[in-house]
């Protein structure tokens, strides 16, 4: 067993004739927190969606937890169980209570008995500070609360890695920190995380590694220290000067 949970080699992705990801190579170690930064439309979200098979890739290889996920005869559902995915727009199921949102997949996919799944769900909702909302419906929650429920829902599948696609971009400013705090807590517990984010503070504080993606390429990669204080690439420097106002 290698210590890599995700390994991407020579990944290329096109939307029609538009080459959106170009020769992407990177690896993520168990327990590592990697932030992906870059301008809108640079391909960061698309990269994340490729990693759990929501987007097909045209060439290259993606290995998650020792299993190659692209190619024929791949059981994507099985692989996705070990990858938690958090979306910018939450995507809670509006016709179910918070509790039912969290237990749906463990109960139906992993066949965990309902009662047991409920216990796990309540524990996870407690962990994200929303135990008292278990019987509310998504429309009764604020954006920050919805995103925390989404995190609990993903954690309920006991994933090996959590991926966050701009988790705070759709939130009111006052609820951003509640979500970031939950993510920091997760990082502290040793969860492997890949975070596409515009929150430079979070990327700097929490991640061990930062990747700057620009026009579908990994332009620069390094520790937060290297990327934020000593960026080598002029385009990275230009990007950071636009998004960080110190």
């Amino acid at each position: 067993m290698s210590d890599w949970v995700i390994k991407v080699s020579n990944l290329n992705k096109y939307f029609g004739s538009n080459h959106v990801l170009r020769d992407i190579n990177f690896q993520v170690k168990f327990g590592e927190v990697v932030s992906i930064i870059g301008a809108s439309g640079s391909g960061k979200s698309t990269l994340l969606r490729c990693l759990n098979g929501l987007e097909p890739i045209q060439s290259g290889e993606i290995v998650v937890d020792g299993v190659k996920i692209n190619g024929e005869k791949v059981d994507l559902s099985r692989i996705r169980q070990s990858i938690g995915m958090i979306f910018q727009s939450f995507n809670l199921f509006p016709h179910m209570s918070v509790l039912d949102n969290v237990i749906l997949a463990p109960h139906r996919v992993k066949k965990i008995p309902r009662r047991e799944a409920e216990e796990i769900a309540l524990e996870l909702l407690g962990k994200v500070g929303l135990a008292e909302k278990a019987h509310s419906y998504p429309y009764q929650l604020s954006g920050g609360q919805k995103q925390r429920v989404a995190i609990a829902r993903a954690l309920a599948m006991n994933p090996k890695v959590m991926m966050f696609d701009e988790p705070t971009s759709a939130l009111d400013p006052e609820t951003v920190n509640d979500v970031l705090d939950v993510m920091k807590e997760l990082a502290k517990e040793g969860m492997t995380m890949i975070v596409v984010t515009h929150e430079m503070g979070f990327a700097r504080e929490v991640s061990q590694r930062v990747m700057h993606i620009d026009e579908g390429r990994i332009l620069e990669e390094g520790t937060p220290e290297e990327i934020f204080y000593h960026p080598r690439n002029p385009r990275t420097r230009a990007f950071l000067s636009k998004v960080i106002n110190i």
């Binding site: 559902s77 979306f87 749906l104 996919v109 429309y139 829902r153």
Partner: protein
């Protein structure tokens, strides 16, 4: 011209029996149509393109030909293939197959109206396409299409008058028979229209009621 209330009054019991027959044939046709329509609608969004084209062909064919012709095809056409159907069964079959095409389009529209993110979130949790459809997308879609389904049921109830042509004694046919005996066409057609209206109004109220009961905010 005089309106002969007594003639209408005396026709009411017979018309009621006809109305009940209309209700019965419509209810069965709705059931057949829902089953076919759910399948056709799901097939239209299924990842398998073979099923998709079969379903499209079915929907196009049915929507492109008159119900009356479909009824004749089933009732008079199938015996040519050695399949003799009782008029009632032929009527239900033709109307169910017809309704299935419209319900199929409604179901497809409902599924496609549910944000892509719902399917993606369900798949990302490790659910199969079918589980995601069944537990996440379809319940929301069915809720959303309830008013359109209600309209389809009402249209079908009214179109059921066409099976009077294959000698099923439903409401329209019953009216015709009474008129040949009494010659009170105005009074009897008023009575027939009244019974149709009562039934369609009841359906529209029932749909509105179930909409209210199932309400959730998005």
């Amino acid at each position: 011209m005089q309106f002969d209330f007594l003639a209408l009054y005396e026709a009411l019991p017979a018309l009621l029996v006809g109305a009940l027959a209309t209700l019965r044939i419509t209810a069965l046709s709705i059931a057949v149509g829902l089953v076919i329509g759910l399948g056709a609608g799901l097939a239209r969004v299924w990842p398998n393109s073979f099923l998709r084209s079969i379903s499209s062909a079915y929907i196009e064919l049915i929507r492109g030909t008159p119900l009356l012709v479909q009824i004749f095809l089933v009732y008079f056409g199938l015996p040519a293939l050695g399949l003799n159907l009782d008029p009632f069964v032929a009527g239900v079959l033709a109307m169910g197959i017809n309704s299935g095409a419209y319900v199929g389009e409604i179901v497809r529209g409902g599924i496609e109206s549910i944000a892509q993110g719902q399917m993606e979130a369900a798949l990302s949790l490790g659910m199969s396409w079918w589980q995601s459809m069944y537990y996440v997308v379809l319940p929301q879609a069915l809720f959303r299409i309830l008013p359109s389904l209600g309209n389809e049921f009402i249209a079908l109830l009214k179109d059921s008058s066409l099976v009077s042509t294959i000698a099923i004694a439903e409401l329209t046919r019953t009216g015709q028979i009474i008129i040949t005996r009494t010659f009170k066409s105005f009074e009897i057609w008023v009575g027939v229209a009244l019974f149709y209206f009562i039934m369609t109004y009841a359906i529209s109220r029932a749909v509105r009621y179930s909409e209210k009961r199932m309400r959730y905010s998005e």
